[in-house]
């Protein structure tokens, strides 16, 4: 083993350790900030020593290209990453993740075009092919997720017989993949068609999925990219890629399952069911009168409460109301001595934990924020609940109405609070298309308006008391 071989392998080992320790530290609020720095050091170390990797062919031009590419990709991502609004974070994470998937697929393509993936036996070739497929799907799928969340794709297009088309493309891709493995010789045309099909499959798979299911989709593609990286790590014989990719693949899979459980649905249901589509049938729901009040009345009621639990949803993010809301909450805490807590549903927002990030941005300390399991028992004792821009996750029909499409989904029991106020832009239904029984409840009051405006009005209302 030459000096550089040893140095590279040893550095990769240290990097892998730093990644695992870093991720572990990111699992607790106190150590999280140092966690990402540990992982960052590992990344810099691994990247720098790779310039002396034994598999590199010499050549000035090659190194110029390499550094140029790192510069372009790194600078672009640095700039966008610093600039992106917290509200837009889900699509940004999706985009960076898709880039990783694309890079894994690019490795597979180079290894297959050059023929080197064919020299190490069927196992390595199979992993190269599977990695290319997963990486390609993650790449195009994440780009679609990004475009949808960014509002660049307004309409969710569902082709007639979408499942048939998806199934057909998937089948064709797999057959072609097996063909490449069986032919065990470099076949650039086959490889190219195979790669284009995997991209098409990612587009077809993601396109019909609606916004509220994005937490599941984004964390699934994160796991996909992890696995693709691990597989290409086997192809290149790179232990750092195998370990880091597998760790992320496993962690991402678990997170995806947690998200799906949060909606009481299976992954395949999220991917293939076309949830929340108006299939022509008139949605039957509770009928009655919604009782609407002005923000001032709501503010007065909160001021005289002892305890208030706030449930934020995606509507809060859209309206960018988190800062105004926290301003209002601080007034309640300081001037009226109200015990305020925030309750967050596992799938609120467009990414796992999206709401936590938004509230943290506004300055809400994390010990005021509670998970569904922690807080649900407290609603019956709460004087008031305030729902802002959330809908399906507080629909009591999920507990009571077996015919409802969201039956069985764990919800926040805001209807059990003594009084419940709902801030909502209009009278429409939520993502699931289900009318919400909560809005017609005896103890529910609706405050109609833009979330940011309502939060401003609430604060102004408090000042007048």
């Amino acid at each position: 083993m030459s000096f550089w071989e040893f140095t590279v392998d040893a550095s990769y080992f240290i990097a892998a350790v730093l990644f695992i320790v870093g991720l572990k530290r990111m699992g607790s609020p106190r150590t999280a900030k140092s966690g990402i720095k540990w992982a960052g050091i590992g990344m810099v170390l691994a990247t720098v020593v790779t310039l002396w990797h034994p598999a590199m062919e010499a050549g000035f031009f090659r190194y110029v290209l390499m550094l140029l590419a790192i510069g372009i990709g790194g600078a672009g991502a640095w700039y966008t990453g610093k600039k992106v609004e917290m509200t837009a974070m889900p699509q940004m994470v999706a985009l960076y993740n898709g880039m990783g998937g694309g890079a894994a697929a690019a490795i597979a393509l180079v290894e297959m075009y050059s023929g080197s993936a064919f020299h190490h036996g069927a196992t390595v070739l199979t992993l190269a092919v599977v990695g290319a497929l997963i990486g390609g799907v993650s790449f195009s799928g994440s780009l679609i997720a990004w475009a949808k969340l960014e509002g660049k794709m307004k309409k969710t297009i569902r082709l007639p017989g979408q499942q048939m088309i998806n199934g057909g493309v998937a089948l064709l891709t797999v057959i072609l993949g097996i063909w490449i493995i069986a032919s065990s010789g470099s076949a650039p045309v086959l490889v190219t068609i195979f790669f284009l099909l995997s991209l098409a499959f990612g587009v077809l798979l993601t396109n019909p999925i609606g916004g509220a299911d994005m937490p599941v989709v984004i964390s699934m593609y994160n796991a996909f990219t992890g696995l693709a990286v691990a597989f290409e790590g086997f192809v290149l014989g790179n232990a750092a890629m195998i370990i880091a990719g597998t760790v992320v693949g496993a962690a991402g899979t678990l997170l995806t399952l947690l998200m799906a459980n949060g909606m009481n649905r299976s992954i395949s249901n999220v991917l293939f069911a076309g949830f929340g589509v108006d299939d022509g049938a008139e949605a039957e729901g509770p009928e009655g009168e919604m009782k609407s009040v002005e923000a001032f009345d709501a503010a007065a009621s909160f001021a005289y409460s002892d305890s208030l639990i706030i449930v934020p949803g995606y509507g809060l993010a859209v309206a960018q109301a988190q800062h105004k809301l926290w301003e209002f909450v601080q007034m309640l805490q300081k001037e009226h001595d109200v015990d305020v807590k925030f309750a967050i549903h596992p799938v609120a927002g467009r990414m796992p934990g999206h709401m936590n990030v938004l509230l943290a941005e506004a300055g809400v300390p994390y010990d005021l924020i509670f998970d569904l399991e922690e807080i649900n028992a407290e609603f019956p004792n709460a004087d008031a609940a305030l729902v802002i821009g959330a809908n399906d996750v507080v629909n009591p029909a999920a507990r009571t109405d077996e015919s409802s499409p969201i039956y069985g989904m764990p919800i926040l029991d805001v209807d059990k609070a003594r009084e419940c106020y709902v801030v909502k832009r209009g009278k429409g239904t939520g993502f699931s298309g289900v009318q919400n029984a909560l809005f017609f409840g005896d103890n529910t009051r609706m405050v109609f308006g833009d979330a940011k405006q309502v939060c401003t009005d609430l604060a102004n209302g408090l000042k007048q008391i």
């Binding site: 994470v93 990783g100 050059s114 984004i218 880091a244 943290a360």
Partner: protein, 94 residues
Amino acid sequence: MITGFVALYIFMLAAFTGYEIIGRVPAILHTPLMSGSNFVHGIVLVGAMVALGHADGFWETLIGFIGVILAAGNAVGGYVVTERMLDMFKSSKD
């Protein structure tokens, strides 16, 4: 080259590690942890560099070049947004 059962052992142990790492994480950290793991698979950068490093001919070099751009974007972008999000979390006792 890492081959056969050694590779399988690495794969299995790493998978357990990933599972254990995220198993008991509070929901407030789901986003930073997801974007942190998104950063960690940015290690694909070293593979993309190696691929570009031994690519031959125009097309292989072009694909390798694009691969390195994408991978660098994954690593740098993943780091920047994770750090920004984690910086915002604070306790009321701080």
